[in-house]
């Protein structure tokens, strides 16, 4: 058979595959699963957007209430106002009024994968207390059973269920003909095994690609969970291409299984076991490897260090000494004023610096570990097609571990920027207290509520495009390799 007639053979196989009831049952189940997953994803994204809106509203509420209290206490009255009730006190505002949040907004493709979002909250209130030791204490306690079972998201359907659908569609092509004896009849025709296999698996690939990409698009559109893709079209296109490569990889795996000529059921069983290895066993092994390569530093050791610092600070004359030393570095000209070393707000600022210094090594170790774990995960994920695609989907969704590690670093930097904003103002108020008016309950004159720095979330677009491209290259290479192996084995019909 000439190459020119191959499209005819492909079309015939396509008609054959589309005529099978099993095909339509598989496709219907796949599209239903995609729609359900997109729907749960849309719910998750909506919840994330609600949390972000609530954080923004809370920030505005804090400013509004501070301004109202400023106005109320800026008039003579008999009421006593403590510093934690007084927004004219920069320290009081910073510690008790301000509602500043570091946020990780969902990307326009966030509907694709839950990733780490169910265990790592995307909104964290930036505070100046000492109840916690690390920056990642924001917690959203939810159903542990649900977390343990995992979400039914698009990443799960695309990475785990789509290969099963492909195996069901294409896993017995050629090998069932081998079992039933029809292969002998086909072999008697003037068609080479590669052409026949190419038509059969090509048709299966066309159906699987159309169903997967089309079904995903349909599910995304129906769910309404997609954001504005204007600046994300490149990343989305690369992701679609990576998904296509993943589909082709599994079709190629089916072709390779068929080329072993061991019969349909063996091919099917082998493919399911290969799927279990690639989607469950290998990712588990890679997870263990990441744990070994980037061991988690002890949280308990850090807590112990923080408590040692706390105990040291409050023992004997350490607190005044630390405060005086801190003041000498910040305002040398006022360091000798005895009342300043006793000022509670300065003592607190000095104490927080003291604690930060005591925990600096632990913070560095935790930050480095988070970055190392995400970096190793990114590298090792490429060893399994399933983890590679998962990572690409999570990165596009902005729910990957790398983005979260960077978010925590940014949140810590934001906390430092807030501290840098307030510290000179608190110092100035302590050195030269100036009340709003005589006889007013308001103690001081802070009113720069609108000037407090806001958190600027990082853009996840470049990382998403980079990861999708890397995944596309890896999956494309893997698919090509499997296809080449299958083609090589399909040189001749079985004896």
């Amino acid at each position: 058979m000439s190459a020119a007639r191959f499209p005819l053979l492909l079309a015939a196989e396509l008609r054959l595959i589309l005529r099978e009831r099993l095909t339509w049952a598989i496709l219907a189940a796949l599209v239903a699963a995609l729609c359900l997953a997109a729907w749960t994803g849309a719910g998750r994204v909506a919840a994330a957007r609600t949390a972000l809106a609530a954080a923004a509203a809370d920030g505005e509420r804090a400013v509004r209430e501070a301004k109202a209290a400023h106005l109320r206490y800026g008039r003579p009255a008999a009421i006593k106002v403590n510093y934690w009730q007084d927004p004219t006190d920069a320290f009081g505002y910073m510690t008790y009024f301000m509602a500043a949040y570091a946020v990780k907004p969902p990307t326009p493709l966030a509907v694709l994968a839950a990733g780490q979002s169910d265990v790592q909250p995307a909104v964290t209130k930036v505070g100046f207390g000492f109840s916690t030791v690390f920056d990642d204490t924001a917690t959203e306690i939810g159903s542990a059973a649900a977390l343990r079972l995992g979400p039914f998201d698009l990443a799960f359907v695309l990475v785990v269920l789509v290969p099963l659908a492909i195996i069901a569609l294409a896993g017995t092509r050629l090998s069932s003909e081998h079992d039933s004896g029809i292969l002998r009849m086909i072999a008697a025709q003037p068609a080479r095994p590669r052409r026949v296999a190419g038509a059969k698996f090509g048709a299966a690939a066309l159906v699987a690609l159309t169903a997967t990409l089309g079904g995903t698009m349909l599910a995304l559109l129906l769910s309404g969970g997609l954001g504005d893709l204007a600046d994300w079209s490149g990343a989305a296109a690369l992701l679609a291409a990576a998904l296509a490569a993943y589909v082709v990889f599994w079709v190629a795996a089916c072709a390779l299984a068929a080329s072993l000529w061991r019969g349909a059921v063996t091919a099917l069983a082998g493919l399911v076991l290969a799927w279990a290895c690639l989607t469950i066993a290998l990712p588990t092994a890679l997870g263990l490897a990441v744990d070994a390569l980037a061991p988690v530093p002890s949280r308990i050791a850090a807590i112990d260090a923080s408590r040692q610092a706390q105990a040291r600070f409050y023992a004997g004359e350490e607190a005044p000494r630390v405060t005086a030393a801190w003041l000498a570095t910040k305002r040398p000209e006022d360091a000798r004023r005895p009342e300043l070393a006793d000022a509670p707000e300065l003592k607190r600022l000095a104490r927080d610096d003291y604690y930060d210094e005591a925990l600096a090594d632990h913070h560095r170790a935790a930050g480095a570990q988070a970055l190392a774990a995400s970096a190793w995960s990114r590298r090792l994920a490429l060893l399994s097609p399933a983890t590679a695609l998962t990572l690409a989907l999570e990165t596009a969704s902005g729910t990957d571990a790398g983005r979260h590690a960077a978010f925590l670093t940014d949140a810590a930097a934001y906390r430092r920027s807030l501290r840098a904003f307030f510290e000179p103002r608190i110092l100035a108020q302590a050195v030269d207290p100036a009340p709003v008016c005589a006889g007013c309950p308001a103690r001081l004159d802070f009113d720069a509520y609108d000037a407090v720095p806001a958190f600027a979330p990082a853009d996840a677009r470049a990382a998403a495009a980079r990861q999708a491209l890397l995944t596309l290259v890896c999956l494309g290479a893997a698919a090509f390799l499997l296809a080449a192996l299958a083609v090589r084995r399909l040189k001749q019909w079985p004896a």
Partner: protein
């Protein structure tokens, strides 16, 4: 019994059992010993830091009791010895709580936060291996039970020789179940015994928990053994039986468990932790204003019929702290109580979601018996909160009952710190666990009974 012995002997000679057994023992051993090593290390760290915290609490300088209340301490959740086998909800819930004045702190630092992004792939613990791999092992052992004989024609011979299908089925099933007991039950017993003997198991009733837990895992394995044999009864060839059983495995162990959270979320709506926190903050804010404080001060002075704080028989600041805390306690009880009730209702719903997949029923049942379920976590959180309240109440009472005049500040010393006992947490007893386990146990029993019921007519109509 003789038939079971003969079938078991056949089974023991099968290379398949040796391979499956070796893989299972290896997987369970690696996961179990790794978890045991981590648990022992974590236990030592917790013991050391708990002792250090107690020493720091007792070694505080003389200070105002409210400052001591703010100094506070950290308390740590004791882990069930059987967490080595099934960590249950433990990785997904905080392990330590900062106990301090005024604040109902969350339990923080969930193990899952520290785990790498690939760690949730599916086979991280012994329980995960039992949930996913043991069914596969049961299928690989049982798929050929009748289909292979049918394919070879030996089933016709056996039935022709007058062997009744019922006893034949029962004998093969019993033999394969015994084989599973050997390759699954014994390793689990070994790891569990190591955990129970080497870790502090006081109050956990570790041995009865362990035996019940292993029995449940074997019942779960039996479900999939029945699935495999059921398919084997009807399949034309062993390979068809294997393909069908694998498809069922994918459906029941991989796909259906992921549907359970979505189903539970729809059927049991629960308020979110973030909303609860926001509501608490919103209710606390008006209570903290200068005006509210002023109004409460005037109300206290009027209650005692005096016009100045120094004329009160108690310390005004101490009394107001007592009353403030009572207000906060009520609020926390209401709001967090509703949150934890909602979460507990969801966890209970997962037991019914076990009707979708025996793996979901097993998860609910297994963690309850292991003492790692959400009820244990909630019990720890509320015990820590009760401890926090006890400290605050004692410190506030000291200030309230020893009024200081002229703006002086009360200073207390080690005698007062010693009045606070060390944090002690007794886990929920096994009887409570058994009560919680009724529904998932019933669901798992339904799976067993349903599959056994399906087998009966097929065995009766067994065709060679």
């Amino acid at each position: 019994m003789r038939r079971i012995g003969a079938e078991l002997a056949l089974c023991l000679h099968d290379a398949r059992l040796r391979w499956i057994g070796a893989v299972l023992v290896l997987l369970l051993g690696v996961a179990g010993l790794g978890a045991w090593r981590d648990a022992v290390r974590y236990g030592h760290q917790v013991d050391a830091v708990t002792a250090a915290e107690r020493a720091r609490w007792l070694g505080q300088d003389a200070k105002n009791p409210h400052s001591a209340d703010h100094f506070g301490l950290w308390v740590f959740k004791p882990s069930s010895p059987l967490a080595v086998l099934d960590p249950g909800s433990e990785p997904y819930t905080g392990r330590m709580v900062r106990v301090e004045a005024h604040v109902f702190n969350d339990a923080v630092y969930r193990a899952v936060q520290d785990a790498g992004p690939l760690a949730r792939a599916g086979l991280g613990s012994v329980a995960d291996i039992v949930g996913l791999v043991v069914p596969l092992a049961a299928i690989l052992l049982g798929f050929s039970a009748f289909a292979a004989d049918r394919e070879r024609g030996t089933l016709r011979l056996a039935l022709g020789n007058g062997i009744a299908p019922g006893p034949l089925f029962a004998g093969r099933f019993s033999a394969l179940l015994l084989a599973l007991v050997l390759v699954v039950g014994l390793p689990l017993l070994g790891i569990g015994a190591l955990a129970a003997l080497s870790r502090d198991a006081a109050g956990w009733q570790a041995w009865p928990r362990l035996l019940a837990w292993i029995a449940v895992q074997l019942a779960y394995a039996a479900v999939f053994l029945l699935v495999a044999m059921l398919v084997s009864l009807v399949a034309r060839t062993a390979r068809h039986a294997l393909a069908a059983a694998l498809a069922i495995w994918v459906g029941l162990c991989i796909a259906a468990p992921r549907l359970a959270p979505a189903a539970v979320e729809i059927s049991v709506p629960a308020v979110s932790h973030r909303e609860v926190r926001a509501r608490i903050d919103a209710k606390l804010r008006p209570h903290r204003t200068a005006e509210a404080n002023d109004s409460r001060t005037r109300e206290v002075l009027a209650r005692y019929g005096v016009s100045e704080a120094d004329a009160l028989p108690v310390d005004l600041r101490g009394l107001m702290m007592v009353e403030n805390d009572e207000h906060h306690f009520d609020l926390y009880d209401r709001e967090f109580g509703a949150l934890f009730d909602g979460l507990a209702a969801r966890e209970r719903a997962f037991a019914w979601a076990g009707l979708l997949s025996p793996r979901v029923a097993l998860q609910a049942l297994s963690q309850t018996l292991a003492g790692t379920d959400f009820a244990q976590h909630a019990h720890f959180v509320w015990t820590a909160e009760a401890y926090r309240r006890a400290i605050s109440e004692r410190m506030n009472a000291e200030i309230r009952d020893r009024p200081q005049r002229g703006g002086a500040t009360l200073v207390a010393g080690p005698e007062l710190w010693r009045e606070i006992p060390p944090f002690a947490h007794a886990p929920l007893p096994l009887s409570r666990g058994l009560a919680d386990a009724v529904v998932p146990a019933l669901v798992l029993a339904l799976w067993l009974a349903g599959l056994a019921g399906l087998c009966v007519p097929l065995v009766r109509r067994l065709k060679p």
